[in-house]
Symmetry: D2
Subunit: 369 residues, 4 copies
């Protein structure tokens, strides 16, 4: 019988559902060395109990500080609003727990560094939920770049455009409060920067414009409240010597969730967008008369490491499988197997780029990372 | 505490996994009046046990005849190769069990009719896994047509193109044997015809060409075996008076799984393809200078009946959620709630069109349904 | 100094403009063995004079019978409504003139055959304006098929969808009168069938539905007039043994002018649509992990026979250049050079398919060509 | 009889062909108040004579200084390599000639200013060939923005990606020599910046990276020569207060000529790309359940000012018609009619942005325009 990994989940929002579902699904579709147990979910009583009933969490709790201290837990999963990620993650690793933290790892490089140090000194495993790395097409993109199929990279363009804030009637939420780490830079910027760094390399310098289009929204009582976070940014970056642009927005009217990129190289180029997450577009400098951007359906057995588990060629996966693949990797690591996970160090490196971006925008200057 | 629905699953292939996962996921993401219990899975011993371990089926069995007789089961789920659907489904409803049968309901209209009659006389619920009806964009398409947004329909085009048989090295399987109901007409044709009838209405007459491109494949021992089923068809149809074409193939090189349609009407038109399953393309005769095909991301809360349960605007669902939505509907029905399901009668009506198509192709003539 | 080819143009509509422009442009962008002279344009006086002024036609005429008899003319260009094509073309070749006739060559196979016979007995050159053959991407498509890059063809789908008749307020015109050869079968069907036969081979048998959605329209005085031609058809065909579907429409709401096809073969597949006329989509069974539909921008010098004359990679051509390329080929032939042109025999072969389609639809049966 | 406008063309390259063709075609398809006469073409003797024969230029010349002084000419058309634009244009307007100058107007803001001043003091008409303004879809885009259909603009992204320099075997040319004004900033940057300013407003500040990927190419003798111009840039801009990114490249492997943009506003958004030049993509905050990016085929009579002259709905125009529309506007102005043309002042404003971009890149700083 397989060893159990007992999980304590902090948080009760959408991500808490995505994570809980992913642990259970991973155990069902993949041969894992350990069995995940949904031990305890922590949040406000009512929400925690609802979640426990639906997903089968064995216990509920309301104080995360107690949860992270529990010696019977093997993994603390942090799904709270961004503002508390750093503190909870640091406490968890400090208490000797392995931790899986929703992105971004913290609200600043300084906070993130504290987590990294605490984990290193405790010698525990830590990972950040950069789940888009686990899209099959992204995996293939990275493999192609690593194998040199694109040659020398020439320039790149990455974007993460959403439009849920276009509607001015949309109420206040923690995602619109700086104190809770709610802005676009931490939210979408962290995914964007991680993906750039995952695929291409470290961001070296950055210039940016960070802006807020809508400065006030009604709270739940209908009272107007100030919005103190940005809702879009545009940036110029140098990534491992390669120039490029980044853009993120929550007011990109028409783009519900367009997370994507283009990377051009001397021997080929790549494009991807989350709107067609199962496809990778590739251009190769092959037979001259037949050169063209090709759209690869990254769904066939053989095409990516998770294909055998799923439905067959052309049967696309959705957003939630990115979590399933990530959770499977984390569980493998906790079971002593090899598996690539997004590390705390990578979470920190991401954070430093975000800090530099904000500093550059404020100072109307370039900033080195 | 909710009443339980005890499920007996016949079959251990990919669909058995999709169904098992769907019951569990439906119970987690939707508020259902009953709780699904994975009571028994039936198939060859080894495969059944593997499945039981991964998904938590409480028991295994090897003889489906015993399973369908068990009075402690509330629902028999038929996931076997097509050739046995009709027999198992008829036996199950005959024994007073509700049944959920993978498509097509049977291998011929005659067989399908037997199931329908048996279910009617037993007074039990029956449903067919026409899961594509549960794609959010398909639901919206049907609503738009029903609301008259397209006006009078003018013509239509439906296709289901796959290419997994392009590779001649691909070995024999039950899907290539007529005795097991393995051809394209029953496999893809059933989805195609159901979707046409679901969206537009009854197919009235049909002319067709049915063909086989590759007549021999190696079995598991490497011995050449004759393939006795078709691998593509093209058809001309009249659907509720609307002319159109159908096409299906397993040798459509380049199209991994392109299931889609176009419907043109006097006031608007629709297009959809499974390759972008979350999107619906709509054209309306609206503001003249701005008319154009629009791509709707059918993912927003409010856009479809399942949106609240999932991830938010622009976060697409995958193939497996079609089963989740269907299983949720079946469970609701078993729990006494209203919910639309694909009925056995609809399964029969589909079968009659497929029979007519084959007859028309053989006779080189038009055939009425 | 180059020999002149003196042209007599019958007709003053849009096509008369397209043809006149094409002769002049061909002479400017291509090295031709002869010089086209716009000698005489024939039609109602006012329209002919307007056209003469704009394009530099040296003379005008009002009686086409006189024009085709003129011994000083080298080429008669027939741009009249379809109903008179056959008569004028037959008279022209009968009088010993070379002829370039707008498609279709006639209103029936019988008429078309008369033209072919007259041309053969006079020993003069004849050509039909199947201008889409001169789209660079179509030329590449044909070359790829001819070179066997697709392997054995499996099935095909061709369509020509327009929507200009969706608007019921649109008035009567010759294109809506059977007596003038105005229906969809002759208009769009001729292009469709020629392209199928040009790329794949002779159509062997056909079944079809031919329909009319709107039966009455106002004439110029606002009086309702019956429309006695079809506005759409759907057909099932066998083309050189390959099964396929055809569809054409003038009421395909949303599709302004979607002329396109898909051809699937054992080693590769092709797609094209006039909406992106400079692109060809190709799928090849190449490197397994990287297989995908590729979009070739057929614009580079080297990619097609006319590229050097134009603007460079990625700078697309438009509709009118199809005529320029065709006129250049006709002028080359008249100057004694080799050049491929759509022959009268091909025009006849197309006509016979159209006749068979109408007969099949009326008889609700298959018809052999 | 209409007054003639006698044109002197300086230059014999591709643009000389495009311009000559455009004058003739404009006169044929549009009702213009003046008649263009191709009076003299100036360049090396052989090339000028070839062009004269093909297009009907009445005379040839070899010294542009003599040509611009000729009192019998009404319009000097400058089609030389970029490095000489400013000098020739200044001389032409100084001599009292109207001038139409290929983009960019000069190699620097200082030079461009000299042209503007000379034209103002001579009181003659001047225009710059920002031909993309004359794409029908661009015209509609501008009208929609001007009419407020997008609401407040939130952010933008403009790019002009080519890949003709990806091939390292491609030889040296004037486009790779700084002395002749050959780099990407002047070439593609001028189109890019003009389009941004034409659609949105003045660029206020800029940060940029300007780079060169390939530093050496063979000349016609096969001798390696240094390339001293950039082949790509990325920039961050503020345009009338709206943040955005710009990118241009000649080494964007796979993108033959992708000139395009996205503009997001509070009430709607726009996208366009030259690869589908006849289409405009529009998103509007309209009926919530049906919102989606729509693709408008900007080809219908009524949709744009030039539609009546051409071929009808869905029949796309090509690159060369942009020149036809521009030349028609210039000829109208010379004939005393109203018509919008790209002015010398706009050419100058564009140049200043390009100068600022280069300064910003060199200084690794933001630069104000």
């Amino acid at each position: 019988m397989r060893r159990q990994v007992r999980i304590g989940l902090i948080g009760t929002g959408k991500m808490a559902r995505a994570h809980g579902h992913a642990y259970l699904t991973a155990a069902r579709f993949f041969q894992l060395p350990v069995e995940p147990r949904l031990a305890v979910v922590c949040g406000s009583r009512e929400r925690a109990e609802t979640l426990a009933r639906a997903f089968g969490w064995e216990e509920t709790a309301t104080d995360w500080r107690c949860v992270v201290e529990r010696a019977d837990l093997d993994l603390i999963d942090v799904c709270t609003p961004t503002g508390s990620h750093g503190e909870i993650a640091a406490a968890a690793v400090g208490a000797g727990r392995a931790v899986l933290c929703e992105k971004p790892l913290a609200s600043s490089g300084q906070q993130a560094e504290a987590v990294v140090r605490a984990a290193a000194s405790a010698g525990v495993l830590g990972a950040v939920v950069f789940n888009y790395r686990y899209v099959p097409a992204i995996r293939q993109a990275r493999d192609l770049i690593a194998a040199g199929r694109l040659g020398d990279l020439r320039h790149l363009e990455f974007h993460f455009l959403q439009d849920w804030l276009t509607d001015e009637a949309r109420p206040m939420s923690w995602r619109l409060r700086a104190a809770q780490g709610g802005g676009v830079v931490l939210d979408l910027g962290s995914h964007l920067v991680d993906l750039v760094q995952h695929l291409v390399g470290p961001v070296g310098r950055v210039a940016a414009i960070v802006g807020r289009s809508i400065g006030e929204r009604a709270d739940e009582q209908g009272e107007p409240q100030p919005v103190d976070v940005e809702d879009h940014f545009q940036a110029l970056v140098e990534v491992a010597g390669v120039p490029g642009t980044l853009a993120a927005s929550r007011v990109a009217s028409g783009d519900r969730c367009s997370f994507g990129f283009q990377i051009h190289g001397s021997r080929g180029s790549l494009r991807w967008d989350f709107q067609r997450l199962n496809d990778l577009e590739l251009y190769l400098e092959d037979e001259p008369a037949l050169q063209g951007w090709r759209r690869i359906s990254v769904t066939r057995p053989g095409a990516h490491p998770w294909a055998e588990a799923w439905w067959g060629a052309g049967h696309g996966l959705g957003y939630e499988e990115t979590f399933v693949h990530l959770m499977a990797a984390v569980l493998r690591r906790l079971g002593g197997e090899e598996a690539e996970i997004p590390t705390l160090e990578e979470g920190l490196r991401c954070q430093r780029v975000l800090d530099a971006m904000v500093a550059a925008a404020r100072g109307r200057t370039w900033a080195a990372v």
